[in-house]
Every structure is written in C-alpha cells, then in structure tokens.
Amino acid sequence: MSSTTSGIPTAGDQAPFLDLTASGVPTPTRMKERIIETLLLLAGVSSVIITIGIVVVLLMETIPFFGRHVEEIALPSMHGTAPYTVSAVLKNPGDAVSKKDALLEVTDAAGKMTQVLTHFDGQVRSINVKVGDLIDPSRFTAADEIRELSHAVKRTLAEGAPIPIADVTWRVRLTDFFGDTQWTPAFADKRFGIWALISGTVVTTLVAIFVAVPVGTISAIWLSEYCKSNVREVIKPVLELLSAVPTVVYGYFALLAITPVLQTIGGWVGIDIPGFNMMSAGLVMGVMIIPYVASLSEDAMRSVPMQLREGSYAMGATRVQTATKVILPAAFSGVTAAYILGIARAVGETMIVAIAAGQMPTFTADPTDAGQTLTAFIVGISKGDTPRGSLEYRTIYVCGLVLLMMTLFFNVAGYLIRKRYREAY
C-alpha cells in the first residue's frame, strides 16, 4: 500500500484488489485514482450505512421492549408464606358491570384471611377468579391477569413494609401499545398507550401548521409576485434567520414570553391556560417553520414559467388573481411539498415542546392543555439517569422508531412530490 500513496510501483506490491482495471497492470495514476474513487464511494455509501445504523439501533431496543419483561413484585409480608388461596369472590368481574374490579378474599398458607380489591385497567379485558384459585407469586409467569392481580394485592394490602417475593414476567402487547391512550412507563401501574404521545405531537404540529401555512404561503406569494427582486434578495435570507435560531432559545421564548401573553388573553376570554401548554409551543414552532414553507413555496412559484404569468396578466388579471388562480395551481406540487416538509419539521421538533408544552402525556385535542410529544418524552426521560436496558431506556427507542416512521412518511412524500414538480418544468 505504501507504493500506491508514494506513487512508485514496485513488483509484488500490487494489492490484488487494485488489479481491476481493464489493462491489467495498474499505472500509478490509475491506482491512485482507484483508491480515491473507492474512498469517495465509501463516503457516498456512508449515508446508507448511517440509515441502516439508525434503524438497527432503534430496533435493537424496540424488539426487547415488546418482548418479556421481568419485574420484581412486592407482596405484603404480614401473612406469612405463599401461596395465597382465593377463599371467596365477593364481587366477580365476570358478572360485574365493569368487569374490571373484583373484591376477593385471600387466605395465606397459615390460614389468615384478607380482603383484596383488585382493579383492572385497560390492560385486562376481563378476568375469572374462582374460589380455590391459587395466587402463587413464585409461579407467576406470563399472564397479564396475574400481574394485574399481584399489583392489586400490592396496592390494597401493602400497609406494612412490602418485601419482594417474586419475579413476574409480562410483555407489552402491540394491541395495548396502539389501543391504549395512557402512557405511564414510570408509574407503578405501567401503561404503554402511544396515542397519549402521538396526540401531543399531532396537536402541537397542527397549531404550528395553522400558523406556518397561511403566513408562509402568503409571504411566498408576496415574495414571488409582489416584491422587487432586490428586496427579495434581502428579505429571504433575513426570513431564513428565523429558522437559524437555536430551538432551545425558541423554547425559552415560548415558555417565558408567549405563555404569559396567552395566559393574559385567556384571562380576558375566560380560558384558564396552564403554565405549560401546547398552544405556545405550537405557535412558536409555527414561526420557526415559516421560512421552510415560505422559501420552498416561493421557489416553486418562481419556477412557474413566465409565459403563464403573462397569459394571465394579458387577460386583465390582477396580481392576486394571477397568484391564486394561476401560479398557486401551477406550483401546487411544490407548495404541497413545502407544507409536508414543514409538517415533518414540526413533528420532529424537540426542544420547544420539551420546554414549553410540559411533561405530562395527555390524550387530548385541546391545545390549551399541557401535553407531551414523542420528542419531548424522549428528551425528558433522557435528562434523568436511566439505566441502560431498563424499561424506560427502551421506551425512548420505541418512541424514536414511531417518530422516525412518522417523519419518514412525510419526508418521502415531500421528496417525491418535489421531484415530480421539478420534472414538470
């Protein structure tokens, strides 16, 4: 290899992989060219490797998330040894109205009796408990029902000092993941309904789009159809500075400047706006993505051929008529791509929502509520110390995968639409 870099070929120094040229024996320049080309190719391919890396890293933690989890369960110590026997079912969920609550009487091995109120949330559809059933923590295996039961035992009996007595294995099911609306991975009663986070992402994104699309579009029309080119040369870069401000600074602005203003306005109209709310985060995010929407839309509008504009003006159309009736339809795909890329930006935005929207995953459509987005959850969990391999650690990768899917969808759509319109003219 030393000869190839110094440029002096010596016999026997030709690495076989270099012997690829048509003429057989590589000349120094050819070898050098070959190496350089290989290096450049590697750099080019690196992006693909990075993408694969992202997907692999996310999947590496996501797959175990949906796999088995082992959890230490504490049961009260006051009743001696397991197993507990269900000695009476005072209210069987099988025939109760709610099907989720059961009042049981359990007896431990020593014959001591206690009442247990079990409470089954969304995780368990229904449960049948019969007199004589054994609740044996040492034999707790995969059943969600038993996990729920043991949680319930813990909750209702644990007035004394609980001691860990058994490992419980359970798994997060996809039906819960996509069927639940509560997200409480850090609580004792763990719930993994991703919709709580997706709703936060959707609400903040909608607020942002509500700001950025009209303002961005009208600004784009103004820049492309109304203003002189030298004015545009100044305004466009200055407008783009809006997206150059670090997002953490926007977060500061949203929390400490916009939220107080919103609270004042909310006070006038009688809406109580909490200190953390999705509205202020969304509004500021909207301002941040105005340049994306405006700049890309304006590019699309200006790439509409002049003949179309002249055709419209020759019919006596005003500028606004030309812009809305001719230019916008002609630049439709480009403008749509701008919107979609703006949405992708808003979906992936992290710091503004992490700072201003709060850290409470809430399944809500009300932007004046506090809420948590996928991104804010990831950052929020990571800010504390989460041991690797723990459930919390895995949840952030799961959320990352969901987020990646969402943004990938918008980005691919935007890319394809943009590519199509580029070919059109």
Binding site: G44, L241, V248, L256, A257, T350, M351, I355, N411
Partner: protein, 484 residues
C-alpha cells in the same frame, strides 16, 4: 378620412364605466393582499425582534454582571464580608495592621418596624444576616456617634457605615432598601493564623468574620479566614449551583471542542460524498438510493440522532458520555447538510470546465482536485458554516448523549501536552455545551436561573446568527462574482 374620432355610443360608455368599477374593486383587493403579505412578513420578522428584545430584557444585564469568586470557582460564603484589603496605619488604640473596606451594600429592612429614612447621611451600626444576594437583612440599626476605630461598642454590629440613600423595594412593598457605604474595618487575625496578609494587599477579598462575643471594638472584624477573590462574568465564569454566580465558560469550551470534532468528521466526509455523487456516481439504483436516502437523512429529527449516538457510540462502542460521542453524533447529524451544499456548489460549475480539463489529458481526480473543488470552495464553505451553526445550536441529541448540567471543570482541565497519557483526555472527558445549560436553566423554577438562561440564549443566538450571516454574505458574494 377615418382619422377623425367616431361618435361614441352611450351603451359603450355604460359598459366601460361598469368595467372600470369592477377593476377598481379588484385592485383594492389586490392592494389589500399586497399589504397583508408585507404585514405578515414584517410580523414574522418582528417575532425575531421580540425574541431578541425578550432575551436582552431578561438576560442582558446578567451577561454584563461581574461577580467575585474564590480561586476554586465558588462564590464567597454567605456570611463572608467582601471588600478591598489594605494596610492600616497605627492609631491611638490599635497598632499598625490590616483593614478591609467592604463594598457598598444593600440593607433590607421591614417597613414600619425600622425606618431607615431619618438615618440618611448618618453613621450607623448595623446588625443582621448577610444573605445570598449580597445584601443584609437588618435586625438592628442605630445611629452611633463618631468614634475612632478601636473603641468598644455594644451589640457586636456586622457593619458600620454611612447610610447613603433609601428607597422602597420595587417588588415587595413591605421592604425598604437602604444603601450603606461601609467604613474600613480592622482585620484582626486569630493568633494561630497562617494568612500571608501582605500578599493580599490591594486585592478584593472575602473575610469570614468568625465568632465574636457581645462586645467588640468599633470597626474591627475578626477574621477566621481571608480569601482573595477574582472577578468573573457570565462568559468566563464556571458553572455554579447558585444562579447568580453561574457562568458558562466550561460550556463555551465544550461547544468549541464538540464543534471541532464535528467539523473534522463531517466536512471531509460530506465533501467526499458530495464529490462522489456529482462527479463519480454512475446512474444506477445505488446512486438513486443514496440520493433519496440523503434527502431523508436531512429530515430525520435531531432527537433520533441522539438515540443513534446513545445506542451506537455509548452503548455499543463504549465511548462514554464524552466530547467524542457528542462530536460524532452531531457530525452525523449535519452530514447531509454538507453533502447537499457540496453537491449544489459542484453542480453550479458548467460541464465545459470539466471537458476542458479532461480534454487536456487530466484524470478525473486531477479535474476534481484542480478545478471542481477550488471553484466550488465558496459554496462548500457556506454549507460547512451553516452546518456548524446548526451543530452549535443543537440541544436534543446532546441531552441524549449525556451533556452534563453541572461540571466543575472544562474539557481542557488536566490536559497537558507534556504528558502523553492525558492527550486524549479532552475528547474522553465529560462535557457540557451552551444549549444544554440553557435548557437546564430554563427548566428551573427560579427567575434568577431564567436570567442566566436568557444570557446563555443571547450568547447562543449571537453565535448561530453571526455564523449564518457570514454564510449568507459568502453566498451573496459568490452570486455576485461568479458569472459562468
């Protein structure tokens, strides 16, 4: 002769009048739209102005404030009296020694119980607790007659001085603020002290007043320790758990280090990838895949890059929560920006230049090396600056790869060229960066932290906007100068 104007018909007149009416209406709408567009743009830009205004209002003074810290970077203890240390001549009652002139201080008194107004201009003895913000919460305050230093006074006052002026607390109506100009105080060292007092002369010091009995001599202070202080401000200060004294020097250094690592990774790699795609890549499925892929990577949310850094560099490669990890993570994040900018810059070079070079017998690499790269350098540089400004302002990935919220050192501490064992230490050491601190500070409930966050934001915005401005200027000049 048909040159004469023909007679007009009234019907035609009517039609024209209608037309003009309609046009006037349309034009009013057009004007309205024009004004709306301009207003919206001005409004968007005024958000930028409002943002700047808010930051300067909240953090501008914080950025300028200086505060004194001990040599180990801590604020003086809350009981310490801060002042200028000097020699003191002998008097009737005291031998020659040393004295400290405390800095002017704020006295906080509860209105009603203790009215300092009649004391303006008078010499007073003040007893109270020094509080964290450098003021004294007054327990007792009374006028005392002029007496030379060394005379005994009851009540063991904390300070003796002259009340300069009194004004109400701007926030709490129950408090009154009085400003006191303290007299110099004799510093009396305990017998077993090892303070090298001569070295401290002329310096700002913190004196730990020690414990005293009920009676003491006027204008003396018993020093348990005297610590020289150095002045620092937000930019030169170390991190602190006290919001008033927190600086961001370690974060500045951290940002610098991380950005260097990022630049070293991303610029060569991004330029190489851009050159490959524009000059070498054949038109095949792989190239197509790479192109779509890069467009997508540019849109991957930054927090996902953080997950990549956490999962790859920390969990798999074991690089730890270090400058290296952060730099590599950000390097990957901004890589698509550099690739795209390089490609655009190269694409702007007309193919005639390449043909001329190839036609003279140059190889492809020679063409790239001597023509394509030099001519596209401006565009590549612009892209690189934009990429670095993005890296400087990025927060989320660094939260994930463990940027610290408190550090007692900079990545450079312990870095000595003389010892090869520490050469790698800046890269593997713990780190923090400016946006991380800003995020951490914003999330604190106290207003004082918010001031620090605003000051940090100002620094951050100044960095990123000036980098962007440079890039915009470059782009502008490029467009002006090169006409192919």
């Amino acid at each position: 002769m048909a040159d004469q104007p023909q007679q007009q018909s009234p019907a035609n007149d009517d039609k024209i009048a209608k037309l003009r009416n309609m046009i006037a209406k349309r034009k009013r709408f057009d004007l309205l739209f024009n004004v709306t567009g301009l207003t919206l743009i001005v409004l968007s830009l005024s958000v930028l102005a409002a943002l700047g205004g808010k930051l300067i209002y909240d953090g501008g003074t914080r950025l300028m404030e200086t505060f004194e810290v001990t040599p180990w970077g801590q604020a003086p203890g809350y009981r310490d009296i801060v002042g200028d240390f000097d020699r003191a001549p002998a008097t009737d009652k005291l031998a020659a020694g040393y004295q400290v002139t405390p800095v002017p201080m704020l006295l906080k008194t509860v209105s009603g119980t203790l009215d300092p107004t009649p004391l303006i201009g008078k010499r007073v003895a003040v007893k109270g607790d020094l509080s964290k913000d450098g003021s004294i919460s007054v327990d007792e305050m009374r006028a005392i007659p002029d007496s030379p230093p060394g005379e005994e006074i009851s009540g063991n006052p904390t300070l003796v001085g002259i009340i300069e002026d009194v004004r109400p607390d701007p926030k709490d109506p129950n408090l009154t603020h009085a400003r006191i100009d303290p007299e110099p105080m004799r510093v009396i060292f305990p017998e077993d002290n090892d303070v090298k007092a001569d070295d401290l002369v002329g310096q700002r010091v913190a004196v730990d007043p020690g414990r005293r009995g009920r009676k003491a001599e006027v204008g003396t202070i018993e020093a348990r320790s005297v610590t020289p202080l150095k002045s620092q401000n937000f930019l030169t200060g170390m991190l602190s758990t006290n919001p008033r004294e927190a600086g961001m020097f370690p974060a500045l250094m951290g940002t610098l280090m991380v950005t260097i690592v990022t630049a070293l990774l991303t610029i060569p790699m991004g330029v190489a990838a851009g050159v490959y795609l524009e000059e070498y890549a054949p038109k095949n499925w792989l190239t197509n895949l790479i192109e779509i892929n890069i467009a997508n990577l540019a849109g991957v949310p930054s927090v996902i890059w953080g997950l990549l850094g956490l999962g790859l560099f920390i969990a798999l490669l074991g690089l730890g929560e270090s400058v290296m990890t952060a730099g590599l993570t950000l390097g990957l994040l901004v890589l698509p920006i550099v690739i795209i900018a390089t490609r655009e810059a190269i694409r702007a070079i007309p193919s005639t230049i390449r043909e001329a070079s190839i036609g003279l017998g140059a190889t492809k690499w020679q063409t790239v090396r001597y023509h394509v790269l030099p001519y596209s350098l401006g565009g590549i540089l612009t892209g690189a600056i934009i990429a670095m400004s993005r890296a400087v302002g990025e927060t989320a990935p660094l939260v994930l790869v463990g940027a610290a919220t408190y550090l007692s050192a900079t990545p450079f501490d312990g870095f000595a060229l003389s010892s090869p064992s520490t050469w790698g230490s800046p890269l593997s050491s713990e780190f923090t960066v400016m946006p991380m601190l800003t995020y951490h500070w914003v999330a604190q409930p106290e207003h004082e932290w918010h001031r620090a966050a605003a000051a940090g934001s100002i620094v951050l915005v100044a960095f990123t906007l000036s980098m962007n401005a440079v890039a915009i200027y470059f782009r502008y000049r490029l467009r002006r100068n090169i006409k192919w």
